[in-house]
């Protein structure tokens, strides 16, 4: 590990010369908590114009879902979002080969990202009150990005999402009647199709940087794709992303109505709560099969990890919520 760290620091210094000049130096490099499929490094860099705090995202051991973006496309997507005024940490450079793996460099930002703390900490109460409207505004900006700016992304219609869940379940080779029930329900209740937009793909508490006044930045764009806007709108409602504050359906921080009202006011899409119900079921389907798939990365030896192993057993939590939603939907 220390060898890797030294190699990355050396390679990073060379890669940063075009950005900061020949006398750039890496003062500190540390592996941070974060994305399971990619490494995240904090790098403090000294250059002629002063000190820079950087975040380096570097390819890791594997991928979570079959449709994860490459680091290069994630960098392109974040650059498009940044140019469109979305609150993302400023992207600085894409590096094809950082000690043998691709990586990208962005400014490093401060704030809370841990879901459980965001829904619980007393000092973040004002942030929680502000988040529903702030997140609606950010999502409206993302969904307004012209599709020709992200022509490099794949497309997924509503039916495609359910088909993909089924394919991933088949690949895991373990029977899950609960997930099958969810797939059958989703196919029997196809939603009204809406014109496709740029979807962030993982827009939920845990992927936001939050400060005392609320939203700082939107992170983790690796699931970006072109799809139904409601796939994004409903994703933060999924119970797993309420981090124990289960009564607050919007991400454990608030009610859905102020979020949806603000989103509708900004986009004119006139989304109803009933439409979100369908996408909340599909969100739980996606995460149920996602946790099965993640445990397979451990079991297959692709990425040995006690976290991924235990996640396989927590599939039952998502299945239970899924079945409860189906029961209530009748």
């Amino acid at each position: 590990m220390l060898g890797t760290e030294a190699a990355i620091a050396d390679a990073l210094r060379v890669c940063l010369v075009p950005l900061f000049g020949t006398d750039v130096g890496v003062e500190r490099l540390a592996l941070l908590a974060g994305g399971a499929s990619k490494e995240a490094w904090a790098a403090d860099v000294r250059a002629a114009d002063g000190r820079h705090e950087l975040l380096v995202r570097r390819a890791g051991g594997g991928v979570i879902h079959s449709h994860t973006l490459s680091l290069e496309d994630e960098y392109r997507l974040v650059s498009v979002a940044y140019a469109a005024g979305v609150r993302v940490p400023r992207p600085l450079a894409y590096l094809e080969d950082l000690a043998g793996r691709p990586a990208f460099v962005a400014e490093r930002v401060a704030g809370e990202t841990i879901g459980r703390r965001i829904v619980q900490r007393p000092e973040l109460a004002a942030a929680r009150a502000a988040l529903p409207a702030q997140l609606a505004e950010e999502l409206a900006k993302i969904h307004a990005i012209p599709l020709d700016a992200v022509a490099f992304l794949g497309r997924a219609a509503a039916g495609d999402v359910v088909d993909r869940v089924e394919r991933e379940l088949d690949a895991a080779d373990e029977p899950h009647p609960a997930i099958e029930l969810g797939i059958a329900w989703a196919r029997a209740h196809p939603p009204k199709a809406r014109p496709a937009v740029l979807d962030h793909g993982d827009f939920r508490v845990g992927n936001f940087v939050v400060g005392e006044r609320g939203l700082g930045y939107v992170l983790d764009w690796e699931f970006g794709h072109v799809g139904d806007p409601l796939e994004d709108v409903a994703w933060p409602l999924v119970r797993s992303w309420r981090f124990g504050a289960d009564d607050l359906r919007f991400g454990g921080v608030g009610r859905v109505e102020p979020y949806l009202d603000r989103y509708n006011a900004l986009t004119g899409r006139n989304v109803s709560i009933e439409e979100l119900d369908y996408w909340e079921v599909v969100g739980n389907l996606k995460w149920a099969v996602g946790s099965v798939t993640q445990s397979r990365r451990h079991l297959s030896g692709q990425e040995r990890s006690v976290e991924l192993a235990v996640l396989g057993r927590l599939t039952a939590e998502v299945e239970y919520e899924l079945l409860d939603l189906l029961e209530r939907a009748g």
């Binding site: 099958e180 029930l181 006690v306 235990v310 057993r313 039952a316 939590e317 079945l323």
Partner: protein
């Protein structure tokens, strides 16, 4: 037969040691988090070992009833049997031919899984 502690008691001893003597010594927050995940994993093991074969037998009986099998085929490998019956049920659901009462039966089976995998989630659920 192995001497005491039995498997669940041994898992409990390991978990208690990690909780009381190791967690507080970990300064790296990532390592501390993974230790808590590992402790949770040992807790799952403890409950699974303590429950023995009863949950699996309940699941097999419930699936057999749902699938209209007069009685569960007698299989010494209950895990393989449960897997086969789950696969049959999954195929029925996918074929649009789920038996009456499938949703309630599957929910009860998942609740049984949670009693081992995440009992607090089930208790808090509403």
């Amino acid at each position: 037969m192995q001497d005491r502690p039995d498997a669940a008691e041994l898992a409990q001893a390991v978990r208690e040691f990690l909780e009381t003597e190791i967690v507080s010594t970990l300064r790296d927050p990532r390592l501390r988090f993974r230790m808590l995940v590992a402790i949770n994993g040992i807790g799952i093991l403890e409950r699974e070992l303590a429950a023995g074969s009863a949950p699996l037998r309940r699941e097999v009986a419930s699936l057999a009833r749902l699938l209209g099998l007069a009685e569960a085929p007698d299989d010494p490998d209950a895990r393989a049997q449960a897997r086969r019956l789950n696969r049959q049920l999954a195929l029925r659901i996918r074929g649009g031919n789920a038996p009456e009462g499938t949703l309630a039966a599957v929910k009860a089976i998942v609740a049984d899984k949670l009693r081992i995998a995440s009992p607090r989630y089930l208790e808090r659920f509403r």
